[in-house]
């Protein structure tokens, strides 16, 4: 007290110190988690992949947070209203979902938004979709035989054990991707291995993909996608909190509340829809617009397609910067992870590459 009485200005040190502690404390907590030492025994990528395929959990629940910072320009017409999950949040911002899982046929995902929630619940053959903002519930029953995925007899030549499959997968990607593992990750307070995929092709905008796998249970806990040269992930989906206790059965029971609009679709409708979808997909594959192709391979492949240009598309693309060169002219959407080019002659080029590569492909 006496110091403060003789030198009143020193009093301001108290709130200032509190501010430093509060703001610095939050930042420090993040640093400690990031610089944790490797605590798990070394493991090869093949062994890790095998373990993941053999992993079996009876139940788990937790909170998954997805954040994205793609460095995209703000596009008009993409931000939704309050109460619903915002589409813009998927590319810039964050989404939170709570998940519950108890065996193959019991699962629930609750996508949370401020004062709203969208639930997808599967309990046996019943699947419910609930949207609180619309006060709407949809229900359909999965066909009994197709509901559970039974392993079918594998054709010869396909790896039959997880270890073989892991080896085959690693061999297949080896030409384009360096695969390493670390034991240093911490996700949701749990020690985790990281499977690090690094594109060998330096032209790719993707710097690294890091897959975090629980050290004990061997289930994936998160994915980080880093843009080249970036210290923070451009996209991150990870458990913020996770528990491996089997959730209560009541998490998976859903009865539409009175007053809600309920849409029923029977198993037949679902099958029909699936068939129609398949047909449509075949049709689409046959009628794929000319010039729809993939140029290049691996991480730097560029997808080229023709798009119909209508007013709606133009309204969005008009806000994008104009670019032109020997290849022609168009609009460019560039972000940390991918670039897209919409040429004035109606082609769209998309790839995880720098715009220059797109110009090169467009000029061919």
């Amino acid at each position: 007290m006496s110091v403060f009485t003789s030198r009143p200005a020193l009093r301001w040190l108290v709130p200032a110190a509190a501010a430093v502690v509060v703001v610095g404390g939050g930042a420090a907590a993040g640093t400690i988690a990031a610089s944790a030492d490797p605590t798990l025994p070394d493991i090869t990528a093949a062994q890790l992949l095998t373990d993941v395929q053999n992993a079996k959990v009876d139940g788990m629940s937790g909170t998954v947070v997805q954040t994205a910072d793609l460095g995209l320009p703000a596009l008009p017409g993409l931000s939704g209203g309050e109460g619903g999950a915002d589409l813009m949040n998927l590319v810039a911002g964050s989404n939170t979902a709570r998940v519950w899982y108890a065996g193959e046929d019991k699962a629930r995902v609750a996508l949370q938004s401020t004062l709203g929630e969208t639930d997808v619940i599967r309990n046996g053959q019943d699947v419910w979709i609930w949207r609180s903002a619309q006060n709407e519930a949809g229900h359909f029953a999965l066909p009994a035989d197709k509901g559970s995925r039974t392993p079918e007899a594998l054709p010869s030549g396909v790896p039959s054990t997880p270890a073989d499959a892991a080896d085959a997968a690693l061999k297949a990607v080896d030409a384009t991707t360096a695969v390493t593992t670390t034991g240093a990750a911490k996700v949701a307070g749990r020690d985790a291995y990281e499977l690090v995929l690094t594109p060998r092709d330096t032209a790719s905008l993707v710097g690294q993909v890091r897959l975090a796998i629980d050290g004990e249970k061997k289930v994936p806990l998160g994915v980080d996608v880093y843009a080249k040269g970036a210290d923070d992930p451009a996209v991150r989906i990870a458990f913020q909190q996770v528990s491996f206790d089997v959730p209560d059965a009541e998490q998976f029971t859903f009865n539409p509340p009175p007053g809600a609009k309920v849409t029923e679709s029977g198993a037949k409708d679902v099958e029909k829809a699936a068939e129609e979808h398949e047909k449509a997909a075949e049709q689409a594959a046959k009628e794929a617009p000319e010039g729809s192709k993939v140029v290049g391979q691996g991480w730097t492949s560029v997808f080229v397609a023709k798009v119909p240009v209508n007013d709606q598309v133009t309204a969005v693309t008009e806000t994008l910067p104009k670019v032109s060169g020997t290849w022609g002219s168009g609009r460019l959407l560039s972000s940390a992870l991918f670039s897209a080019l919409l040429t004035d002659d109606g082609r769209v080029l998309v790839g995880a590459v720098a715009p220059e590569k797109l110009y090169e492909v467009a000029g061919k």
Binding site: R11, W12, T63, T114, D119, N135, N255
Partner: protein
Amino acid sequence: MSDLSVRFLRSELGLIARRRRNQAGLAALAAVPIIVAVAMRLAAPSSSSPSGGPDFFSQITGNGFFVALAGLGVELTLFLPIAIAMLAGDAVAGEAQQGTLRYLLTVPVGRIRLLAVKYAGILFGAFLAPLVVAASGLISGLILFGGGAITTLSGSQIGFGSGLLRLLAICLYLGACLAALGAVGLFVSTLTEQPLGATVALAMLTVASFVLGQIPQLDWLHPYLLTQHWRDFGELLRDPVSLDGLGPGLLTAGAYIVIFLPAAWARFAGRDVTS
């Protein structure tokens, strides 16, 4: 000495409760949910447009319980913060303007204790205000629309009793949020001798904070905004309740209190009181 503090606190709370403008303010807070309920009753067959209106409005006609939530949701952005801003403005600046601050300082308690009593008065208001809004909404809603099982955000139904518990928890959460605003208000109140200035400044701060929170380009700033997590009270309406979801809001509130109460002391303890 502690006996004196208790008497001091009691006299402060009595002063707050007897002040005419505070009573009028509380009545205004209580009136909003009643107006909402009556308006929804008169415009009754709105069930054809179930997704219209702000949050919770569409559910009001089905269950009067939601009048309380709609009332809290509506008042949270302006009415409740203004009520706290009024209390905070009166706390120190008001006394200074009336010339009563120097008499208060003759009470043989230290300036720290004086501030503590003043903040206790603000806390009393911060927790009382949401309770009054919820109670008025609940009563008017039950009279006009009746009660019954409550639909959570997750689509499940909970009994009315556990719904009331959740409503109480929501009021406590909002009380904690408003208590943080009150800490900032107490600091602002020590800066000036104009209670209205302190009130307006705090109200503007709240509105500015809400506006900044809406701008996606400023998302790096959002975690530090006082009002950013106020609407997280919806976490208490999920099934199961997401208590983790309340963490960020309570942490933010705690951080503001920890910073601004010492700031108020730093300013007030060294201030020459001339009026």
